[in-house]
Amino acid sequence: MNSRERVLRALNHQEPDRVPFDLGGTGLSSIHITAYNNLRRYLDMPKTQTRISHVAEQLAVVNEDLAVQLEVDVRPLMPGLSSKFEYVFRDEGAYEAYTDEWGIGWHKPNDGGFYYDMYQHPLADADTLEVFKNYPFPDPLDDGRFETLRSQAEGAAAKGKAVVLAGICAGITEVYSWLRGYEQFFIDLAINPEYVACMLDRLVEFKCAYWERALREIGDLVDVVIEADDLASQNALLMSPKTYRSLIKPHHQRLFSFIKDQDAVKVFYHSCGAIRPLIGDLIDMGIDILNPVQISAKDMDLRELKQEFGQDVVFWGGGVDTQGVFYSGTPDQVREDVKRNIEALAPGGGFVFAAVHNIQADVPPENILAMWKAWQEYGGYV
């Protein structure tokens, strides 16, 4: 079977020949440019131009030669930038900064910085509903976003790979919290529900406009679409289940239903952290795939998750503990972790192997290779 058939069997909760493997298929299963360059050198791969796929997180585009060598089953479809936006980097002394198309300021320390983080939030001081209603959004339908999608998709399909289409912004609560600033976002959840309702409404509309056009134009070539929203941190949800269900869930429901109405694609949903209390809600709303399956977060034991939810949702991630042995352990410890995780998640299909979230700059290439070799050794179904 080819990669696409392998992935589709897994997504349909059937066992393929082996667990499908993802590195670089999404912006949530990729690799920091530093770790990527280290890996290429370690594998003695030809020097080639390495490019950044996601500026803020400094993720690398996984070059085709490495994707082939590592037998990656998935290829990403990345929308282009809006024609009205370009990255303009500013020298701000100790930081390099840019402003994104939403008006959010990001900066990276010049000394010892790995990523860009937010430092300016345009709606931080907003205190009337009018300000939220009228805040200018980028254009979700700018042609620049769509121009190369078909050619990317056709390229991946020609290679027999599964095709995963990314969105054009982070999740609805993420974008809201980035426009507002985190503290004010949490305060809004507690005491300004009208602001939350207004913005999440507008953000769902923004996303739906994009998904409608993208799936109308290339839905026939797309297997999976990506949506995301961090609902939890290390040990708990970021908001109570009651708050989630009253203020956020209706918007998520509208968004996922809309996407499913456009085309028969699988919805890949990302949330970091200890999200177990809400997995049932996500499944009820129609998500097909859960990512990154953060093993190290509270109540995210893989065997328990597989038992409770494995028939209803695909686990895409969970391959190796990025907060644990992956960066700090030996290759043997990585191998043991991968073996354990595959044993927990693979039975019956419903599992696509990827590291838990993006591979970070501090992960030694020996450990990445150990992860891959362990997947090779233990990822077969026959």
Binding site: I187, I191, S233, L238, Q360
Partner: protein, 209 residues
């Protein structure tokens, strides 16, 4: 309901809108700033911490309570200083070098303040040298925060810098953040680890006894 109980419930509910007038009313009625601090604010924030650890309060609820507490504390601070009320201890907090994530650290600062500690918040991306300088100006506890496995090494570097500056014995060092573990804290020679803002308060109190 007496005024102190009223203030307690307002902070617990995070009602930022009325806390100022309630505190003023209590002071006018002769309740001391110290009583309001202990029975109105600290007691309420203690309960907030308990509810957070129980899983009944989440970040939004904790934040609005902390903000209400801060509004009240702003009114009381000059009076507390005047009457010589000492803070429980002085805590220097910051997110370590290379790391710009601060909401966890901010929550810890707010909860410690709500427990009666004085906070010197150095912000984020704080170098070891900046921590050393802050300790030279006085502090009982240093709290280090990191969200990334890639920036955790800055915690160890900070502890080593304090040691090299001859200041290690002067302070207790506590660490926290999503990827940080009790084992890691021990490995780098920290005095304690806390998993969340509420537990940080319990830890800090135990270290200043």
């Amino acid at each position: 309901m007496d005024q102190l109980t009223s203030i307690y419930h307002i902070v617990l509910a995070g009602d930022m809108g009325v806390v100022q007038e309630k505190v003023q009313a209590a002071l006018t009625a002769g309740v001391t700033a110290e009583e309001i601090l202990h029975k109105g604010l600290i007691a309420a924030m203690d309960e907030v911490g308990r509810l957070f650890e129980l899983g009944e309060y989440y970040v939004p609820e904790m934040l609005i309570s902390a903000r209400a507490m801060q509004v009240a504390l702003g009114i009381l601070k000059p009076m507390l200083a005047e009457t010589g009320v000492e803070p429980m201890g002085k805590v220097i907090i910051g997110t370590v070098k290379g790391d710009l994530h601060d909401i966890g650290k901010n929550l810890v600062g707010m909860m410690l303040e709500g427990a009666g500690f004085q906070i010197n918040d150095l912000g984020s991306d704080v170098t070891a040298e900046q921590f050393v300088e802050a300790v030279q100006n006085g502090g009982d506890i240093v709290g280090l925060s990191a969200l990334l496995t890639t920036t955790m090494p800055s915690m160890e570097a900070t502890i080593k810098a304090l040691d090299a500056a001859g200041l290690r014995e002067q302070v207790k060092i506590i660490v926290g953040g999503a990827p940080v573990t009790p084992d890691y804290a021990q490995q780098i020679g920290a005095d304690g680890y806390a998993a969340d803002a509420s537990r940080a308060v319990t830890l800090a109190k135990s270290l200043v006894k």
